[in-house]
């Protein structure tokens, strides 16, 4: 699933507008209430995120949705005494206009006539206004930009410590506090103690004395723990602060009663004093960081990600703050160790078994006319759930027929649900969380006879997929330099797709993770390294007609080409995803010999590896399907 696609983890999409008049009245009261603000504020900004800048958020954090009704993944609401406006991008213009009532003005981002949030505020606010925002859910760099623009126009941006949406939110869901799962060395390959030691070594190297971890997946990875606080993402709400001799973990303390967990974290009998974890309530991170900062020596430096919340970032005095685009945890986590790679491979084999079953089942059921986008997605989940160590899906399944396939961020809803048939293209982009790994795969298939144009487009997309997957490139190459390889065949025919080509994938963690990726847009990506795992997912979308995407998760591995210029070494990719790519969709005439060889070798691997597992599991129909679908092409 592409990083460009939506991540709706809030309530299900409703298409009738939310009635917001009374809510806005209450919010505007709160904006003047001295219980919350020392002086009245003239505007209140409601961003999308949570305090950890998560891509997916928990229901209790869906504040922007609560106040305006719009539940897309991206959008910022701003309420003034007179106005209420919500900014979102082109993917959501229709949905937002349907979900918001006429108290709200939809601000269509990307259109020339749409003002920026800052410009709009400056145009509507009385002189010398105060604009409030919850400093926990705005990132430090966003705060800086907005504050600068407002200040230069005579206004000011002020931090409102109590969230004003929470103040007016009746029956706001509780912050989730699901059971924590410990992961042993057989899954992680390295103990949390060794991860701490490696982190400290990096801190020493850069003369850093403290590290503040705020990203939920980094904290889960660091302690070899998983939770289920956010749908699709096996993370839990927490902060961590690591010093050279101390480790502080901030988490709902009720979660720490489980003996296995206490043992895992050595809470009762730490082996060494500097590996002893002190636990604190989740909410006390602020005061604890304040206390740490009050005691900093003149040369002490604190690492914090520049995407961390403004609230936490500003606790650290500027002279001691070292903001970084990617934390050392993010960088280390991205390079999977051999145990993690083994786990990811196992997860992908199980996932392939489930998909082989799905496709074999679909072939039989579709002619009966009873399979819909939703039921097919449910069936995929059912097959996956039968596999060992299945935990849940890794993102909402994109299951789309015909024209729905051209909507890149499509997710089937009762009112859009189409029936699969032998006349239309079917695209399914789905993935799961297993205890040993995370999957994400897209296949585009036809159960009847695809048109010549569909086959032509599919083949260009396939050529792009292969061009990336088979690319050999020097060590140190950044992923964005490979993006054009995925497009060359489409470009040659005047076609393209308007999304990136790949994203990093976590290991039983978030399906989207930094710092690597393959996109024409990102130049802040870190170089690819052996052990990194990314997706390779070019596509083509014909509006109103069909969508095509071919996605494998691939592992960066060393390559051994003929020469080795300046001893730099080379890299290439190995597919982890092992699901046949439908030959019926290919115009094999358009493939070069090398590309045909790639397809045949890929299918040979699918047959060999997944076939053995299907056989072991005694899944005969799926095995038969696999064997038929992996016949060599000529």
């Amino acid at each position: 699933m592409g990083k460009f696609k939506e991540s709706d983890s809030c309530t299900s999409t409703a298409m009738s507008p939310k009635i917001t008049g009374e809510l806005l009245r209450l919010l505007r009261q709160a904006m003047k209430n001295c219980k919350y603000v020392s002086e009245p504020i003239q505007a209140y900004v409601i961003p999308s995120g949570d305090a950890h800048q998560s891509e997916y958020i928990a229901p209790c954090d869906c504040r922007r949705e609560y106040i305006c009704g719009f539940n897309g993944s991206a959008g910022t609401a701003i309420v003034t005494e007179q106005h209420a406006a919500m900014w979102t991008d082109g993917r959501y213009f229709l949905q937002a206009s349907q979900q918001m009532d006429n108290n709200w003005t939809l601000m269509k981002m990307g259109l020339k006539e749409t003002p920026s949030q800052e410009d709009w505020l400056i145009s509507v606010l009385p002189e010398n206004s105060k604009v409030g925002v919850d400093p926990w859910i705005i990132a430090a760099d966003q705060w800086k930009n907005m504050s600068k623009a407002l200040t230069s126009a005579g206004h000011s941006l002020v931090a409102v410590q109590d969230n004003l949406i929470d103040a007016v939110w009746v029956d706001r869901p509780e912050r989730p506090s699901t059971q924590l799962r410990t992961l042993g060395l057989e899954y992680t390959g390295i103990s949390w103690q060794d991860k701490i030691t490696a982190l400290r070594a990096k801190m020493t190297e850069r003369k850093i004395t403290w590290f503040v971890a705020t990203a939920l997946d980094e904290i889960a990875w660091l302690f070899n723990l998983r939770g289920a606080d956010i749908e699709y993402n096996p993370v839990f709400f927490a902060y961590a602060i690591v010093g050279m001799n101390t480790i502080r973990l901030f988490v709902d303390l009720k979660r720490l009663s489980d003996p296995t967990l206490r043992e895992h974290l050595q809470l009762d009998s730490p082996s060494k004093p500097d590996l002893s974890i002190r636990t604190f309530p989740y909410e006390s991170v602020y005061t604890e960081l304040q206390a740490i900062c009050a005691a900093l020596g003149p040369k002490d430096k604190v690492w914090i990600c520049d995407k961390a919340s403004c609230a936490l970032t500003q606790v650290i005095p500027k002279a001691h703050r070292t903001p970084i685009p990617y934390t050392p945890l993010c960088l280390t986590k991205a390079v999977k160790n051999t145990t993690e790679i083994q786990g990811m491979k196992m997860a992908h084999i199980k996932d392939a078994v489930a998909l082989c079953e799905l496709f074999a089942w679909l072939e039989k059921e579709i002619p009966k006319g009873n399979v819909t986008e939703i039921s097919a997605a449910d069936k995929a989940e059912e097959f996956r759930s039968q596999q060992k160590d299945f935990v849940g899906l890794s993102f909402p399944t994109i299951s789309s027929v015909g024209p729905n396939g051209a909507i890149i961020h499509y997710r089937p809803l009762p009112e859009t649900n189409r029936t699969l048939s032998i006349n239309e293209v079917y695209l399914i982009d789905s993935g799961a969380q297993y205890v040993d790994g995370t999957t994400d795969v897209t296949r585009t298939v036809h159960f009847g006879t695809p048109s010549a144009f569909v086959k032509e487009c599919f083949t260009y997309v396939l050529k792009g997929h292969i061009a990336v997957s088979a690319a050999v490139f020097p060590n140190g190459t950044k992923g964005h330099l490979l993006d054009s390889f995925a497009r060359a065949a489409l470009w040659d025919s005047g076609l393209d797709y308007l999304h990136g080509t790949g994203h990093g994938v976590g290991c039983f963690l978030n399906v989207h993770e930094g710092p690597c990726g393959i996109s024409y847009k990102t130049f802040a990506d870190e170089p690819l390294e052996a052990g990194m795992i990314v997706s390779d997912e070019p596509g083509y979308y014909e509006d109103g007609s069909f969508g095509i995407r071919i996605e494998n998760v691939v592992l960066v591995i060393p390559a051994k080409p003929k020469y080795n210029y300046r001893n730099r070494g080379s890299l290439t990719f190995e597919p982890l995803t092992l699901v046949p790519i439908q030959v019926k969709m290919m115009d094999t005439e358009l493939l070069t010999e090398k590309e045909r060889d790639w397809v045949n070798e890929y299918h040979r691997m699918c047959r060999e590896v997944v076939g053995a597992e299907l056989e072991r599991q005694g899944r005969k129909d799926a095995l038969e399907w696999l064997i038929r679908e992996t016949q060599p092409i000529v």
Copy 2:
């Protein structure tokens, strides 16, 4: 010629160190002399550039060379009361160490242990020091960075208006003031008056009231004038300030006596008052800009390039200053009009005639053993100079045999000069200025039998050259997205080259110009547009053995692929350079059918177009050579 390569326009390379003891003593005196500085300064920074941030500079601006002896294209010298240090990059470590005496410390940039200029200054300066620099030769953004670092350490960066090198420079050359050449519509396609009108339209669109032009090629282009103040670059020292009703040109007034020039600029009888040019002495730009800024209205905005000098930039009050990475002149100049394209085509045909003659001549002369890198370069210049409207070379010829070819920025010197033979690879990268256009072409040839390895590498480079030249891509694509196409074949075999793939080329202007290019390094490039002209020059360099580069200048043209996704339109390239690529160097087995077709079609064009011109000029030997070298391959 790649933008990465050197541009030595200073004195010829001397390899014995310059004696600098007395010079440094005088400079240190000047650093305390109240004639120049109100308070003594503890350090003085001497950058490489001139007041226009030119890539090539005039002898009078070679101040860093004068003070330390090192004459490479890149380097910054800093002199304190106790120390003298010079920073340069890996291309120049050897040369700099040979050219500087032991008063100087060579600071090897790119090595881990080498401090930045700021860190070094902070480590050697007494508390509260003043660091001086000539604000005219430091760009505004460089000033900002250095000033920030010094201030945070308790020092300050101060502008020293009189250049202290000039103060101690005996017999400093005069600033050149060569005769100006006017270009009529038959060369420019558009009058300077229409260029001014178009500029003002862009200013109106962006609500800009003044534009300050500081780049010499932009000023030459704007007024349809050329000079010869800087070797290889047909520019002249000038500034221009354009308002909505006024045009100010700052130039040595002695240059304006020529009646043709006065007529061209309509100095004596302007057609309209707002197209009347007011001329001022070159030096008065500062006071004149001050006067303009003193009279600015509250909403007036002034455009200036962010690469302009600190001195001029800071004249404009911050509230009125709108710095831009590329000026509207730079952007318009890059898109050549039909007249300019026609001129560039003509220039390239003439240039090809000269090169065909050169190669035919070399074939005959080399076996005699008398041709050297220098004499071959001279011969190339001689043949070029016989062509109509030849003005001079567009950069110093890179003429290199065997191992010298692996030195990317090589330029033959008496002490390195090798003899051409039938046993070694010969690389020649050369170009010329004609009144109708600028050329830049690299060919790599063998006059005997190239080894299998040389042929293999050459063929990979050729594949890369073709991949870029034949690429089809959507409108709006930035050049850096094409860079990997040039490398894919080399990468596949573990090879690469450590420079960019292409640079913009001016039309009878600088051989390197922005804002477009093809490089993995630049993400600030502007999208390619039909009419832009860039080089396509991948290479491969085997240290100590040989260098390969294949360079054509190519024109961006509309492409007409089968489909037209979202009506975006597509682009591709048309080669302007029409010089055969040596078939003997190719391993044709490694070429695909498409690549063979490209080579044959390219050679057919060379034969047809250049053949006709060779015939017209009666150059029989060269024609014979051309016909032989353009036989189709199978």
